[in-house]
């Protein structure tokens, strides 16, 4: 594994791109490209990534860059790889899709590419809503979060469903390599991207990327909030390599999810009851990943036996 100080200086995602100050996506793209190197071709579907890194005829990436439609990242990178193979060139073909382009709109395409085990790297930059079009909910938006389509008012208090567990869906495709990453844990980040670079077959990297206007956070706290996401259990750093599951970073002490929620404007309206429900969900997830119950002072409540995704609203719609 390369240490941080041995990473190359060359910046393949140049200064002058127009991402918001403090953008988590920009940090993730820059460092992923830094590790993948010049021998890389990038595809980006409709997302912030295309708006701030390429407004024709200008582009921020110093590697070949392609953009077509929203829903076809998996298909496009498969085609790109096939074309380069035909030409006899061995390049890293990378797709940088957002959570909307992966969880919802592009799911059929990424599933197809994974099932065919195409030799490409798929990177999901997960900022937990459709931020580019002005913050609409996606399958990735966490429970309780405010978005323009899950508003906060008298009748509803943000999103009522929990976040979809996409890495598990991808793991079920039995792909050679899958990892969840965060730029706030650089050593882990570098190791996983390097590993993805060396393995052949379909590789899926899932990065949590804070969005300053969408999460309503201080622009200086993008990295701090990522660390807190891991410490509270909202985000887990793990990998699947040829079916073998391994947690790569375990936080020392579990922190209350409330600390994470109250740092972000999108969660600040949450009632004590909702926060308790969220804590229950996080404790369950913590147990699944780390193979033990969350620390007793954080997870005192016995969880109800029912499935977490069945909410009051579901019962209202479908009956008990």
């Amino acid at each position: 594994m390369t240490a941080m100080r041995d990473l190359p200086d060359e910046n393949l995602f140049v200064m002058g791109h127009t991402a918001c100050p403090g953008c988590g996506v920009a940090i993730s793209i820059r460092n992923a490209l830094r590790i993948l190197g010049k021998n890389t071709v990038v595809y980006v579907p409709a997302s912030c990534g295309v708006v701030f890194s390429a407004t024709y005829p200008h582009a921020a990436m110093k590697v070949p860059f392609l953009h077509t439609a929203f829903e076809n990242t998996g298909a496009c990178i498969s085609g790109l790889k096939a074309a380069y193979e035909k030409k006899g060139k061995n390049v890293n073909v990378v797709g940088f899709a957002g959570d909307g382009g992966t969880y919802d709109i592009g799911l059929q395409s990424v599933s197809g590419a994974a099932e065919r085990n195409e030799d490409v790297i798929y990177i999901c930059l997960d900022n937990e809503a459709y931020m580019n079009t002005g913050i609409q909910r996606s399958g990735s938006t966490p429970f309780g979060a405010w978005t323009t389509t899950t508003p906060v008012g008298k009748l509803t208090r943000g999103k009522r469903e929990f976040k979809k567990d996409l890495p598990e869906i991808m793991a079920a495709h039995d792909i050679p390599y899958l990892a969840t990453l965060s730029v706030a844990h650089p050593a882990d980040f570098i190791r996983k991207v390097e590993k993805a670079k060396t393995i052949s077959g379909f590789r899926f990297l899932h990065m949590l990327t804070p969005c300053v206007p969408g999460w309503k956070i201080d622009q200086a706290k993008s990295i701090e909030i990522l660390k807190l996401a891991v410490d509270t259990g909202m985000w887990t750093l793990y990998e699947f390599e040829y079916g073998e599951r391994k947690v790569t970073y375990r936080p020392g002490k579990m922190r209350f999810v409330k600390d994470y929620l109250m740092m972000q404007g999108r969660f600040r309206h949450m009632s004590d009851e909702d926060i308790k429900r969220m804590q229950g969900w996080v404790c369950r997830k913590w147990g699944q990943h780390y193979g033990e119950k969350g620390s007793p002072e954080v997870c005192p409540v016995e969880l109800p036996a029912e499935h977490h995704a069945i909410t009051e609203d579901h019962r209202g719609m479908h009956g008990p």
Binding site: L7, M15, C20, G22, I27, Y56, P57, H58, P213, I223
Partner: protein, 297 residues
């Protein structure tokens, strides 16, 4: 009809300012409309918003091309955008600036009002969001709407969205700006240079629109050409590093979203390229030895 064009940066609230101004006019029993320019806005990128005020019904729905007044929420825009474009003969510019009106270079002599809206916003709102303060300056400079109606409009529009306390603070910012606005004539001098665009004919376009990196008479195009886009002018704060405290852990180098922290001297030192730094403050927040502080520009 009185037409106003707002020049701001994403996140400063130009759109909210345009709406609050329209609401203030409605409070004074006039007709008004407000709408933004639709485009790919990011925080910090130049944006436009428009307001029309009239004592009869307004049927025009186009953008404002010949404004009676331009409102500039951030004076760094003066270097890149020709804000006086299309302004009427007796038009007025209301500018957030630390300078006096006579010192402001607009490329032509027009009536100008200046106010230190950023300082007011930082003092009262603790954030460089200048939209409410500048409305106070607008009221003072033009007299089109009274400051009382501006305050009421801000209380209702911002109060509804951000809560009553925030509404009152923002109204206070407008009042303070109203009291501090200075009016005069801008300085004339050199013409504003309009940035050239690369506008090829269809026959000059490569197949599929595929561009390689090359230089045209309008500057670089293709991969990596964003390097000509100086994003440093978006910043309100800039990081200053204390070299003696710095341990060269490279956390800031890795975490910088712009990549404007650059290794020099064979990796023995770092340099921050302020031409691109947007002043987000991640480096100062993440520095483990607190060697970086954010300074007001």
């Amino acid at each position: 009809m009185y037409e106003v064009r707002f020049h701001g940066r994403g996140g400063q609230g130009a759109v909210m300012a345009a709406q609050a101004l329209a609401e203030a006019a409605v409070i004074e029993d006039k007709y008004a409309i407000a709408f933004p320019f639709f485009g790919a806005e990011r925080r910090g990128a130049p944006v436009l918003a428009f307001t029309r005020i009239h004592d009869q019904k307004i049927y025009s729905r186009t953008q404002v091309y010949t404004p009676d007044c331009v409102v500039v929420l951030d004076d760094t825009l003066l270097d890149t955008v020709d804000i006086t474009h299309g302004i009427k003969e007796n038009g007025i510019a209301v500018i957030n600036s630390t300078k006096k009106p006579e010192e402001i270079e607009l490329g032509r002599k027009i009536r100008t009002a200046a106010v230190e809206a950023t300082s007011i916003a930082l003092e009262l709102l603790k954030a460089p969001i200048t939209n409410t303060a500048i409305l106070g300056a607008f009221s003072r400079a033009t007299g089109i709407v009274g400051i009382d109606s501006v305050e009421k409009a801000i209380m209702s529009r911002f109060g509804e969205k951000l809560g009553e306390v925030a509404g009152r603070k923002n109204a206070g910012a407008a009042r303070m700006a109203y009291d501090r606005t200075e009016t005069g004539m801008s300085s004339g001098g050199k013409e504003h240079a309009i940035r050239k665009q690369w506008l090829p004919e269809y026959r000059e376009l490569p197949v599929g629109g595929v561009l390689g990196a090359r230089t045209t008479d309008a500057g670089l195009i293709g991969p990596g050409s964003f390097i000509e886009n100086k994003t440093g002018e978006w910043a309100t704060f800039r990081p200053v590093r204390d070299r003696n405290r710095c341990t060269m852990c490279l956390a800031c180098w890795f975490d910088c979203p712009e990549g404007c922290i650059i290794r020099i001297d064979n990796g023995k030192d770092l340099r921050t390229d302020y031409g691109y730094c947007k002043g987000c403050g991640i480096c100062a927040n993440e520095c483990p030895v607190d060697a970086i502080t954010m300074m007001r520009l």
